[in-house]
């Protein structure tokens, strides 16, 4: 009985919460969608399979928040965090992590920047996700060499542009 009352109370509380937030939009129009994220992830996983090295692949949205993630069997455990941080780094500074990292080498002006933001990644494997000229997130890949990671990240990013083009054509 008590459980029932509790449940009803919870339903009311959550109902109110939902009712309250129902009329407002909870996210900005134009942000990375899950459908797009899945398309990108599938393309990246396909590329990773071709290369033959197990990868961690992470996507963040325009706000830098995790949208989708997958770890292939046998991929480095330490690359879970690196994949996420590559995506975040690319989005946080609006450029591929390879470009960003070039300015963070010893003797270059951003040397040491990786100690900020709870850890950034200053080598390749993070690429921007751009739809119709707007940055809507980023993809980070870790598991192979930097060249391999970058190839997988670019395969993902390119899949968005292709789907974005076909999206426009359908109108």
């Amino acid at each position: 009985m008590r459980a029932l009352i509790l449940s009803l109370t919870l339903v009311l509380i959550l109902g109110l919460g939902t009712a309250h937030s129902a009329p407002v939009k909870t996210h900005l129009p134009g942000d990375l969608t899950l459908e797009e994220a899945q398309t990108i992830l599938t393309a990246a996983l396909h590329k990773a399979k071709n290369i033959g090295i197990p990868m961690n692949i992470a996507l963040v949205d325009a706000g830098g928040n995790l949208k989708i993630f997958a770890r292939e069997d046998g991929a480095f455990l330490g690359s879970i965090d690196i994949a996420k941080k590559k995506a975040i780094t690319a989005r946080f500074f609006n450029m591929p992590t390879s470009e960003f990292g070039a300015a963070a080498q010893p003797g270059k002006e951003l040397f040491g920047i990786e100690a900020t933001n709870d850890g950034l990644v200053i080598f390749g494997g993070g690429e921007l996700l751009v739809r119709d000229g707007v940055i809507i997130g980023a993809i980070g890949v870790s598991g192979g060499s930097v060249m391999e990671d970058t190839a997988v990240a670019k395969a993902g990013a390119t899949a968005l542009q292709a789907s974005s083009t076909s999206f426009k054509k359908s109108f």
Copy 2:
């Protein structure tokens, strides 16, 4: 001479970075602007002065990232973090922190939720920022009683709606 070459190299790197990101939009249209944030902060500080308790006031944008912050002279140092976490909590769950906190009391279903997300706040003082039916961020206030903090946060949130209305009228 070496310094000159270094400078030129840096200018090139940064120039390239800028050139690369120039044609793309770096943020989603419709997000909280600095001008709006300043209007909201000014209204909140005005309310705080009327109440007479020094406050910490923080605003985050739609992605939950800090947009503006101010600490009045004499405000609790411990409230810097609370103000930020109130804004983040409100945005992360799309409701005022008072509503959110109601479901996190002992015996309620979200009891203990404040241990997630590096710390959430489960009492009042965090309010949503809504423009034309879209959540574009949140304001968090800390320094006085929960009632006082909430009053200041609401004064800020209301200032956005007022400016949003006058914005529409001017078209």
Copy 3:
């Protein structure tokens, strides 16, 4: 020329790395596979769509490390972390988070335990992933009421058992 030597060195280093780890198995036989994780995620997303509340869904493997993650459009940003922590909590203590949470209520012996492990979740929505009587990971779901989150998590966990049964039948 220097760049070429550098490239060759990198290829050698990475090649050696790969060559070195080739003969050893990098993960336990029987751990949650990406294919299973995708099956579970798909079932959970299907259930979430039926319920009509956008969810965050996270799976960890037997080692408690993130295997797959997805956030539906409009799902709470704060639920990214909660979904992950629900999966981790379930796996770390080998029981659903609802059971775990029951022992963490005020007056119960694990009261306060959510402050450990960088934050645990002490309410429902985290379920174990069991294959042939072995815990191979956990699923955590966050976005709706605890009852809704739990329903989605169970839909995912059940999909593993179904696929595990059909897997055995095919032999």
Copy 4:
């Protein structure tokens, strides 16, 4: 009725809190004021607009605690943390981050120091705030090249000295 008693109790508790702290001063005389912080921020934002690169600007007081912060529209999300850490670094070691960073280069004696204090910044863009020969805080700026960030930080720091001089003249 119960709610009323609860409210009264809260008023008493909070009232006592206020009454208790009323006779003691809660902050050091001479610390950075919000008014000064606003003057400095305005000058820094003005300089940033002249340069034409969106910036993150953070000020900490003598205790190294955040006093004011603003992020211009389109400024790097990753620079929120860097601006704060530049201000903190400058104040924690009582020198501009450029000077501090010079001692943290490879081969120099503070090499690696950026890994302490939850992350320090070892390049320019953090400047001290000095009033009448006393360090009262620091300003950190991030968003452009190091040269641009430094120019904006210095514009802010100079505005304090100017206002400090005119402050003295008025007596």
